[in-house]
Amino acid sequence: MEKKDTRSGFGAGLTELGRTNPNVVALCADLTGSLKMNDFQDENPERFFQIGIAEANMIGIAAGMTIGGKIPFTGTFANFSTSRVYDQIRQSIAYSGKNVKICASHAGVTLGEDGATHQVLEDIGMMKMLPHMAVINTCDYNQTKAATIAIADHEGPVYLRFGRPAVPNFTPSDQNFEIGKALHLKEGTDLTIFATGHLVWESLEAAKTLVEAGISAEVINIHTIKPLDNKAILEAVKQTKCVVTAEEHMLNGGLGDSIAQLLGRELPTAIEMVGVNDTFGESGTPMQLLEKYGLDAKAIVAAAKKAIARK
């Protein structure tokens, strides 16, 4: 399986938008290389804005640029895209209803060696609480590229979350990304694993291991945490009656939290959640950190067995 980083998918999508949509502009806070925005910058210097290390100003400028019809894409690390500028996003983008795409790389513990100061694990929660904000967490290069292109056509603010490490690139290169649409990646009858971001691949690996234990796991990719595909989730859970959620994010505020709310209202079901439980990350390699913080295939297998036992 070819491995590629999701941030490069963002860069490729942005480059394509630069060629096809003259209203797309890009802003960066001194992380152009990390966000893979160089090609867009080289091809469209007049539409690329290097803001410097001033994320609050970047968010405010992006909001202002929408007046007159531009579609700004901001790029920096996920931590500096959200928690650092939450009030700017809240007032100037979400409350003001501005068509800004907040594109955030290096999310979660897989940022790796830089450690907890940079490993935001709260961003999905923060962003999904903002009215009008769509929240997307992509799983591989191809999906990230397709999502980047798709959000330009979505009127309204979007938070697009992706990551740093090279990970398996397993979704089709010609996919049509539809915001808010769950993707069935593997059929199964005993339980449903709902996964987002880097943990989608880990969930597919877990499903293979579960077969050996005689458990048939369905894997559904929820790339859009908000708006959530309630219909697809409820239909799946009606069949399997057993749920695991998996995400590289705090349990509080993440995908599992959203699904638990939905099931609590509509279809009470036992649920096991794979995520970070109220702790900060630390330095290490991405794979070491996924293992230590219980975010790998092994952790998903354990959660699935626990969920089956509760069924």
Binding site: V25, E46, R47, F49, I51, G52, A54, A56, N57, M58, I59, G60, I61, A62, A63, G64, M65, T66, I67, G68, G69, K70, P72, D87, Q88, R90, Q91, S92, Y95, S96, G97
Partner: protein, 281 residues
Amino acid sequence: MPNISKLNDVVSQVRRDIVRMVHANSSGHPGGSLGCAEFFTALYFDVMNHNTSFSMDAKGEDLFFLSNGHISPVFYSVLARSGYFDVAELATFRKLNSRLQGHPTTHEGLEGIRMASGSLGQGLSNAIGAALTKKLNKDNSMVYSLHGDGELQEGQVWEAFMYAAAKNVDNLIATIDYNQKQIDGSIDDVLPMGNLSAKLKAFDWIVLEEFQGNDIESVIHTLARAKELSGHGKPVVIIMHTEMGNGVDYMMGTHKWHGSAPNDEELKSALVQNAETLGDY
């Protein structure tokens, strides 16, 4: 030449609107609003090229951003008086289901508002963004913004000052309402900002000082001068000296009317001091 007498009639009516709006709710911010009545009237009744049949994108129009959103009463009054919406709607200020929220917002679709403000320090960045888009669109209109002086304590403003000068955002005229007062007292009591003009010059802005911010003729002249200086590679900032509470004697010379409403007696006194020129709402 603008008819200064007619503009001063507008100012008088705007002051009445401000104190009546704030009195009707026993809440709101009359002090800074009154201090900027001449500035808003100058912008919307003389200086800016703008269209009251509102379009968010404002292509070919001058734009204005209010960064210190708490002085919404003066903004709402001038928008209504210049024709963006019916003056009768001023009566809904700060009331349930109103488009005239405590602080300005686009959320309720009020014509004339292009950005929410209230949480301080964000408006200069917003104005820069709009100015950059105007350049991309080959639109030669100007972008104006207003900021409180106390608001300059917010760090984001200085990020924006640094950016605009470094990146030659020269279709932008920012004005600082320099009344030297904030909620807790005078600027010097709270956090002295030293030589503001020198600081802004050091940030490489063209700095104009308007010492008569409550003289509409002088304000118009300074805004015209600012426009002449625009378009030459640097943004322009006006340090506009104003009197908080201007036009209502007991509100002047103190910070106490920053966010306090007049009672019935105080309202009467304020109205006696400002003639009804265009008809109360």
